[in-house]
Symmetry: D2
Subunit: 126 residues, 4 copies
């Protein structure tokens, strides 16, 4: 559906200049600065690698003819892990992008909120 | 679980006066001014009354021994309608409360975003 | 969406007389004999009335401007109750209709299983 | 969709000795006989490998800082693919295991149906 355009959100500051963005922003580091975002990114990648391991585990189970109910239990665990990854992405998105749009207000905010809501709707329906 | 404390969100203006809503809007505007929110509220109530009708329809179906697969189809429709109601509430919440919190920034924003994320997680798990 | 054709499942006896329920039981016991099914039906109706009460509770909450996150929590509870009702219907369906079809085997079983799977898919997507 | 083998995986055996497993197994065919199940198994493995590819795609997206909404869209696609895999497993399970239990009837059927329903409940909640 969407592609790999890296950085599609260049205008909605992820706090390169925190002072302008966030009245009280204490620590400064941007959302993908050397600290904050990188740490998040590592956490995301770690999570995804664990999910990849779960999917490979499922392949082994199918390959070894494990009882289908047990396979289904693992599928539920994988789905839950994916949803949980989605929630952490979403939380980050609300905190940074939606909040940044709020400062611009008006149409910009409406667009970001509509976009986030549509993403949540897709998660709910999947 | 939750109770009926009306107006738990007094500080996060809901935009009766968009101009005042801007960056610094610290003041006043109620959560359902004469325009915006009232219209929304009527729409919400209308939606909920339709869902109530769907639930009563389900009772009739069970009472008349309708084939269970057909009852299940109606249950899915009711669930979908509830989820869709939830999404419209959530969109409103992001647009108003989260955006207002963004203006205060810091801890206030973090708290609102965490709260919204937890609500989305509950929807995903239900 | 679906309609009210009561008794679409006339051939798949619902066990008032388990012995007669066996392979050939074509006619026999109705889908809600004096015991088994009636009790189930009362339980279903009771559950649905409780859900109807939850939906009315939601209307009150919206009407009293309860904080949206609290309304969302109640929506999740309502959705969960509907899903749980669906699961109990489904369990009954598998136990009676799918099992009866299993005795006929072949195309009849395939059709019932495909139908049940489609119903589960709708629940998952709602 | 699925075919053949009567009596798959009777007592959660993962099919080591089908004949010992299934007292009444009419046709004998094992749970992964040379035809039916193998084909299914290949289809399952192929599906899972595609899902594994989706998860790796997600890692790339995160690594390249793709806009979070686009990542979320891909998460939804992955979740949907997992659910769809689960549904095909479940359909197979109902057609084979639940149907086989139906022939034994009574407690055996009740146990299988309760087990399948619990698996469906886990899918719904994940």
């Amino acid at each position: 559906m969407t592609t790999t355009q890296a950085r599609t959100e260049p205008d909605h500051a992820h706090g390169t200049e925190p002072s302008a963005d966030a009245p009280a922003a204490p620590a400064a580091a941007g959302h993908h600065g050397p600290h904050g975002y990188s740490a998040q990114k590592d956490a995301h990648l770690k999570r995804l690698r664990r999910i990849e391991g779960q999917i490979r585990g499922l392949q082994r189970m199918v390959d070894e003819d494990v009882y289908c109910i047990d396979v289904l239990t693992q599928v539920s665990a994988g789905t839950k892990a994916l949803q949980s990854f989605a929630l952490s992405l979403l939380e980050e998105h609300l905190r940074h992008c939606v909040a940044a749009a709020a400062e611009e207000g008006g149409a910009e905010l409406d667009a970001k909120v509509a976009e986030a809501t549509a993403a949540i709707a897709r998660l709910l329906r999947s």
